[in-house]
């Protein structure tokens, strides 16, 4: 019997809101799925689409991106810029064939520990249902193979 | 190869001393290495970088390399610790024919981070000092801090059988700098070493080499007695990848050591 599939998910979060929200979830002893590796960044404005590609390149099955609600940005409007960027990048990924379910976006404030836990749980469940990102892992595997012609 | 020692030479410049892990590789190195050759130093996951073997052919128990931290590979090398393993591929290329220098006066001219290849020749000669005539070293760097091998410079300074001329570029001197101030070619012309029975070895940035060759000509040096080493960008080291070519010359195979006469036959604009 093979083990049930457990997705590997990378979360890029801003330090001021979502990371604090994650902290709150922790100190409130909320349980959430252990499939997520959190990477903390100063602001959602710092989350380059390169990060998402890198996460996929390293074999992530899903990526989460989260930051302060509009209007709450510590740097006044980093998240407004990020929002536009995501809008475009999301459309691009969709057009290229990377299912939008694999890359999720949210606003989670420092006070929303519960929302954080629920968000992680629901995304983990969704991606578990989708299964491993096989199309992408095939791309990765092909780089390992000797060059056959 | 294992890093057995590391030393900061100047801001961003480090020297690593490496010892062989595989006896067979060490034997091969002992058999083939002659001063002037280069190697490819690598860290897996980052890549390989080419620089000369900075240790002399008279000391083959280890390899020393000196490099400036600037790219992906050199950063990884600079961050490696004593005891870490790195890779070495080589030695490749040709060499300084130092037995042809026996009985002659030697003039070494070097600039900045280009002292390491010259240093390899210098020690190869100083370790058999009796075979050579007068030894003069002209070395310059942008600033006092950028001078590399400071301990060895002191040692050479104190030796009575070595004439050391140190200089820094104008503006690079410190308040307690007691040596010269000026660019290497100018200082060289002031020092005016005699071209009689003398071999010159120069190494430096392309612009320094260009002007130093002019100065040496003025001083009466014959192009055939002037040696230099062209350290171009290289990847394969075995005459395939195509990036070190200057004219029809594959620097990695036919070089890196050339006489000024050979260099003058190369297309100057591509140096």
């Amino acid at each position: 019997m093979s083990e049930p599939f457990e997705p590997k998910i990378i979360a890029f979060v801003c330090t001021y809101c979502t990371y604090a929200g994650a902290d709150l979830a922790g100190t409130s002893r909320l349980k959430y799925a252990p499939n997520v590796r959190i990477i903390r960044l100063p602001c959602t404005g710092r989350i380059s689409p390169m990060f998402i590609l890198k996460a996929l390149q390293k074999g992530a099955d899903g990526v989460l991106i989260s930051g302060c609600h509009p209007g709450d940005c510590h740097f006044t409007h980093g998240n407004y810029h990020a929002r536009r960027r995501w809008m475009v990048f999301r459309a691009l990924l969709d057009f290229i064939g990377i299912p939008p379910e694999r890359v999720k976006y949210s606003w989670i404030s420092a006070a929303e520990g519960v929302k954080f836990a629920e968000f992680i749980n629901s995304v983990t469940n969704d991606i578990r249902k989708l299964g491993p990102f096989e199309q992408y892992s095939q791309l990765i595997e092909q780089t390992q193979a000797p060059a056959s012609l | 190869m294992k890093i057995v020692a590391r030393h900061d030479e100047a801001p961003g410049v480090k020297t690593l001393r490496l010892e062989f892990q595989e006896p067979a590789e060490h034997e091969y190195f002992k058999k083939t290495y002659r001063t002037g050759m280069f190697g490819l130093y690598g860290v897996y996951g980052e890549g390989e970088s080419t620089f000369c073997v900075a240790s002399p052919e008279t000391r083959k128990d280890y390899i020393e390399c000196t490099f400036r931290q600037s790219g992906r590979v050199t950063s990884a090398l600079a961050n490696a610790d004593i005891g870490d393993l790195i890779t070495f591929r080589g030695p490749y290329g040709n060499r300084f024919p130092i037995e042809d220098f026996h009985g002659k006066n030697l003039l070494f001219i070097s600039g900045g981070i280009a002292l390491p290849p010259t240093r390899s020749v210098i020690w190869s000669c100083l370790d058999q000092r009796e075979k050579f005539g007068k030894v003069t070293i002209v070395y310059g760097a942008r600033t006092v801090a950028d001078l590399v091998y400071k301990h060895e410079l002191e040692e050479w300074q104190e030796r009575s059988d070595v004439d050391l001329v140190l200089t820094v570029d104008p503006g690079g001197e410190s308040p307690d700098w007691k040596h010269r101030v000026g660019f290497v070619p100018t200082v060289l012309e002031e020092a005016a070493p005699s071209p009689d029975n003398c071999i010159a070895v120069i190494c430096g940035p392309p612009i320094m080499i260009k002007f130093t060759l002019i100065s040496l000509k003025k001083l009466g040096f014959d192009e055939a007695n002037v040696y230099t080493t062209l350290e171009n960008r290289m990847k394969c080291g075995v005459g395939k990848c195509g990036r070190c070519n200057v004219g029809s010359v594959y620097v990695c195979k036919e070089g890196p050591v050339f006489t000024a006469a050979e260099v003058s036959r190369m297309p100057a604009a591509d140096l």
Binding site: T143, S148 | G45, G47, R233, G242, R243, A269, L271
Partner: protein
């Protein structure tokens, strides 16, 4: 009477070679590109192509290939060399320019260190060339003293019959004879005449060009800047060229394991020769174009006794700004008069 392979027997030949353990490759059109690729049936071949978009170099020197795999533990580095998988191949329907391109590069990969990746594939491949009966305005083999039916680099040369029902067979090498032994009973003796080879106009005077290039005075000629002004510095000419062989070595992986790869690289990229110090020996696009021309017609021949150009014309055919070796050498021909 000559040996003839009729086209309707080709599918049988493919079968036969395949059952003898050979991978059968040849010119095909797939996914909107004309290239050499492995086939299952003869019907996949497209012999109507004047030339594939991509050169036969792909089959001997792929755009990227692993050289070694490394794993790192605390006190040991382990490496495994990744030679190409062993595979006997027959490349059916190559063009003379492509085949000779491979022969041109043999000495380069063979001097000093012998490139095993290249020679393993070379030794495991039989190149069956079909002489061209058609050419386009970019073909220039004749200008390089070659011909649409040159035999250099080929193991077997086929000449299309006038009635286009097959090919006259000319076995050139032991390896070619060996491969054709498998299909000996499918060949017939016949007196069908071969179609005339394509008439490829001579576009420049190669000797005059080479003499001009060898003259050191012309190295700094303002011609180089003028001819390359519109060059945008991409690598389509070098990557489609059958003889261009420059490469880069890149590591992919992390601190614990990964792969060191050999990737195509190009003299037309500014980064190709850039030194750590910021100094770049070939700092302008014109210097880089000059290097490409000089290397092909002056430097390479001085080392390996052959021009590093087989006249396929892909550089001119595919150049985004309509440059290429043909135009440059035509202009040099004019200058040298």
């Amino acid at each position: 009477m000559t040996k003839i392979l009729f086209s309707d027997k080709l599918d049988k030949c493919v079968e036969r070679w395949k059952s003898a353990g050979l991978t059968v490759m040849g010119p095909v059109q797939r996914a909107n590109i004309k290239t050499y690729a492995a086939v299952e049936h003869a019907s996949e071949f497209d012999f109507g192509l004047i030339l594939t978009d991509r050169s036969i170099k792909d089959l001997f020197f792929p755009q990227t290939e692993p050289m070694l795999r490394y794993t790192i533990k605390k006190d040991a580095i382990n490496t495994d060399e990744c030679l190409p998988p062993r595979e006997q191949r027959i490349i059916f329907g190559a063009r003379a320019c492509d085949a000779s391109g491979m022969a041109i590069d043999d000495p380069l990969f063979g001097w000093d260190y012998k490139d095993e990746y290249w020679f393993q594939r070379r030794n495991e491949s039989v190149i069956v060339t079909i002489a061209c009966t058609n050419a386009d305005e970019f073909c220039m083999c004749t200008s390089l003293k070659m011909a649409p039916d040159s035999t250099k680099g080929s193991d077997v040369l086929l000449r299309p019959l006038e009635n286009s029902k097959g090919w006259q067979v000319e076995e050139l090498t032991e390896r070619g004879r060996e491969a054709f032994k498998t299909i000996a009973d499918l060949l017939q003796e016949g007196s069908d005449t071969a179609a005339p080879v394509a008439a490829v106009a001579e576009k420049f005077d190669l000797d005059a060009c080479v003499a001009w290039l060898q003259n050191p005075e012309n190295f700094d000629s303002k011609f180089w800047k003028e001819i390359s002004m519109r060059c945008i510095g991409c690598a389509s000419c070098t990557y489609l060229c059958p003889t261009c062989h420059c490469f880069d070595i890149q590591d992919e992986g992390d601190t614990y394991s990964g792969i060191r790869r050999k990737n195509w690289d190009s003299c037309s990229f500014a980064l190709f020769t850039l030194h750590t110090s910021g100094h770049n020996p070939r700092s302008t696009q014109s210097a880089r174009w000059r290097q490409r021309i000089m290397h092909k017609f002056n430097y390479f021949p001085s080392k390996f006794n052959a021009n590093s150009c087989s006249g396929c014309g892909r550089c001119s055919r595919e150049c985004p700004v309509d440059m290429g070796i043909t135009e440059t050498l035509q202009e040099i021909s004019k200058l040298s008069q």
